[in-house]
């Protein structure tokens, strides 16, 4: 029985169970589903619809409309990025579907690989039920809501962006759109026009969270665009770790995910932002992420991209205060039909700031991975340091990797170093591993896990376990 046949067999059994789950839970939990749907395409009417539904304050409505104009005025960045962007048809996307949106899919439309993944990841029964349409329950918030009470007492705010801008305007508004201005790029403008969902987090002075905050983003509907907006503010001397995961079903049509994430680490604060992106291979994942690090503050992006059709994401850190530190640790795996175009932006804007970029990419089959790095150290500064390492592993002879580092260092009072390598899993190495009894898939998985091993250690335990499993699944499907 081939891999595909096995998966299909499981699907049929699961289809039956899932439909039952859907009927009971769906009717009970969401009596008002299907209520809010902005329809197809994007216009100022769409923006108004979203504002009305969300009951946005006027300043937000204005912000959105301005952003729409910027989005419309900006060309696709295909002069440097892939032409595949032209395959996004903005008029064939639905920009807003409320929580209660009735799922159009049934279980037998869910691809076997997603189901198989869920089975093997051991996602609990109620989370699996989300695929049948119980979206709001899937965000993994329940698991962390127990902490909410405790955090609230400490003055921590962890709410949706909508709640943030309304209930906490005095903290939210001064930073919103400041780290990533609307016009940063075409997709940050798009997000600014139609954003919905995402988190607003505020950590008060000196509060150090021992446990991470977690969000799980899932796309459930076809031809849908997800545009969450996250703003995290860590006040002086505070510490927070935020983890996000994401998946989506694989539909016939393209799905768009375009988030904006802004981090603000005030004096001496530390923010770690961890992503495990496992979108299905029909998703365009075009995300803008940037952090601002003030004096002695630290912003770390730990970014793992396994899924999507095309990902373009270059997490950045603007080191605005003296001795600020920025770090990007990224892992990308591009299988056939995927392009992981990732990297980092390190903007040094104060003396004695330090940045570190470690990027590892794996290209499998006809998969393509691209690294784009930007390091900027202006002439008037002194004592800035950057270290950049990017390593690529090619699994097959037709796999592809490209590296585009752009390091601008002016003045001679700085230290930068850049290392890059490309390696392959050689036939002899595979022979060695297979001679010990590992089949080709197991041998490949082991080689790939070995390649990224030092980076996986940077992930919290539960995520590194998930990561290894996801990679095993990818490798298993790609060989033999």
């Amino acid at each position: 029985m081939s891999y595909q046949e096995t998966a299909t067999a499981i699907l049929d059994e699961e289809t039956h169970d899932a439909i039952n789950v859907d009927r009971t839970k769906g009717d009970f939990t969401f009596p008002e589903r299907n209520k809010f749907d902005a329809g197809w395409g994007l216009s100022s009417k769409t923006v108004d619809y979203i504002c009305d539904v969300k009951q946005d304050p006027d300043w937000v409505r204005e912000f959105r409309h301005k952003a729409l104009a910027v989005f419309e005025s900006k060309p696709m960045p295909t002069h440097w990025a892939t032409e595949d962007l032209n395959n996004i048809h903005f008029d064939k996307i639905r920009y807003y579907l409320s929580d209660g949106e009735k799922p159009k899919r049934t279980w037998d439309e869910v691809p076997a690989e997603i189901l198989e993944t869920f089975e093997r990841l051991g996602i609990p029964e109620q989370e699996r039920a989300f695929l049948a349409g119980v979206e709001a329950q899937y965000d993994s918030e329940a698991a962390y809501s127990n902490m909410k009470e405790e955090l609230t007492k400490q003055g921590v705010i962890f709410v949706t962006s909508a709640e943030g801008l309304k209930e906490h305007e005095e903290i939210f508004r001064p930073w919103f759109g400041k780290v990533i201005p609307t016009g940063d790029n075409k997709f940050s403008a798009l997000n600014s026009a139609v954003f919905s969902g995402g988190s607003f987090i505020y950590i008060p002075k000196g509060v150090k969270l021992k446990q991470p905050l977690q969000a799980y983003f899932r796309i459930n509907s076809e031809s849908f665009g997800q545009f969450e907006r996250t703003l995290i503010i860590a006040d002086e001397g505070s510490e927070v770790m935020y983890m996000e995961g994401c998946t989506a079903p694989k539909f016939e049509t393209a799905t768009l995910h375009s988030a904006v994430v802004e981090l603000v680490a005030l004096k001496g604060a530390k923010i770690q932002y961890i992503t495990v992106q496992n979108w299905s291979s029909n998703v365009f994942n075009l995300v803008t992420k940037r952090g601002l690090a003030m004096e002695d503050a630290e912003v770390r992006w730990i970014d793992c991209n396994i899924g999507s059709r095309l990902t373009m994401k270059y997490p950045g850190v603007v080191m605005k205060g003296e001795r600020a530190r920025g770090e990007v640790i990224s892992i990308a795996l591009a299988n056939t039909g995927q392009h992981q175009d990732t990297g980092a932006k390190m903007i040094h804007a104060a003396n004695n700031t330090t940045s570190n970029v470690v990027s590892k990419s794996i290209s499998v089959g006809q998969g393509r991975s691209t690294y784009r790095g930007q390091v900027h150290i202006p002439k008037h500064l002194k004592g800035c340091k950057n270290n950049t390492e990017c390593d690529a592993l090619l699994i097959n002879s037709n796999s592809r990797t490209d590296t585009y580092p752009a390091i601008t260092v002016k003045g001679n009072r700085h230290a930068t170093q850049h290392e890059a390598s490309v390696s392959q899993v050689s036939e002899e190495m595979l022979f060695y591993m297979q001679q010990r009894g590992l089949d080709q898939g197991q041998a490949m998985s082991l080689a790939v896990n070995g390649f990224i091993n030092d980076l996986v250690r940077e992930f919290p335990m539960e995520y590194s376990v998930e990561l290894k499993r996801l990679i095993d699944l990818e490798m298993e499907g790609s060989v033999g």
Partner: protein, 250 residues
């Protein structure tokens, strides 16, 4: 019970003939040594037995306890009981020795069964102690930054952990100083068993001082050209391979 090689002929992908009809039977419980000059096909023989895909078997077969290996993949042959100690063991960057050996053992278990971690480490440490390997070896990436001697010891460690039915040691003695050679030999001798056959491929008599073979074969130009007892190795040591050039033997 034996590893039996019948009229084995193999070529490279480009058609170059390397093995031209090898006949050899290694019964369980015996140690055989193959000696011979460079380029005689000794290493190729070990790779072909293992199922290396760069070689095409054009005639003959290999029987493991009567089971034909022809249709079996490299890993299937391994799990069936073939172990090859490599002349040049490969590095597996980022994968620790302990995880590598564990994965190899895990691959031998039925689906759903997990290796007992406590028992595993106990067994691993015992064998490492015998091979005088530092405990730090477990955490180091497979063969990465290992000295020649460390790599060879690591091969023997893996062999001891996997407990194969038939062991093929390809020039395990090359690049070893005398102390390391003794340690490696100790490991190999500890593996001697009535249930296990071994094939030592070597250039030198030296290894055979420490691991006593039951039979010695001489390989030349893709064939076994002479077989005898342990004394044959001493003879070769003394007289070299010049006799191969005598027309009568070709």
């Amino acid at each position: 019970m034996s590893l039996k090689i019948n009229n084995l002929q193999a070529t490279l992908e480009n058609g170059t003939e390397i093995l031209k009809g090898v006949n050899l039977e290694i019964p369980a419980g015996e140690i055989h040594a193959i000696m011979g000059p460079n380029g005689s096909g000794k290493s190729t023989l070990s790779k072909v037995i293992s199922g290396h895909e760069s070689y095409i078997v054009t005639a003959g077969n290999i029987l493991l306890d009567g089971v034909d290996l022809s249709e079996m993949s490299i890993d299937e042959r391994s799990r069936a009981g073939i172990f090859l100690a490599f002349q040049y063991p490969n590095e597996v960057p980022g994968v620790s020795n302990a995880n590598f050996i564990r994965a190899a053992l895990q691959a031998r278990l039925p689906k759903g069964e997990e290796i007992d971690a406590v028992g595993y480490y106990k067994s691993l440490y015992e064998k490492m102690d015998l091979l005088e390997m530092d405990r730090k070896f477990t955490g180091r990436a497979v063969n990465e930054g290992f000295s020649g001697g460390e790599k060879k010891r690591n091969e023997i460690l893996q062999m001891m952990m996997l407990e194969p039915k038939y062991c093929i040691l390809d020039e395990t003695d090359s690049g070893l100083d005398i102390d390391a050679l003794k340690i490696v030999a100790k490991g190999v001798n500890a593996m001697r068993s009535p249930d296990r056959g071994m094939l030592l491929i070597t250039h030198y008599q030296r290894l055979l001082d420490y691991i006593k073979p039951d039979h010695v074969h001489v390989m030349s130009e893709g064939r076994i050209v002479k077989s005898g007892g342990p004394e044959l190795a001493l003879e070769l040591e003394e007289n070299g391979y010049d006799f191969l050039k005598e027309p009568a033997l070709v």
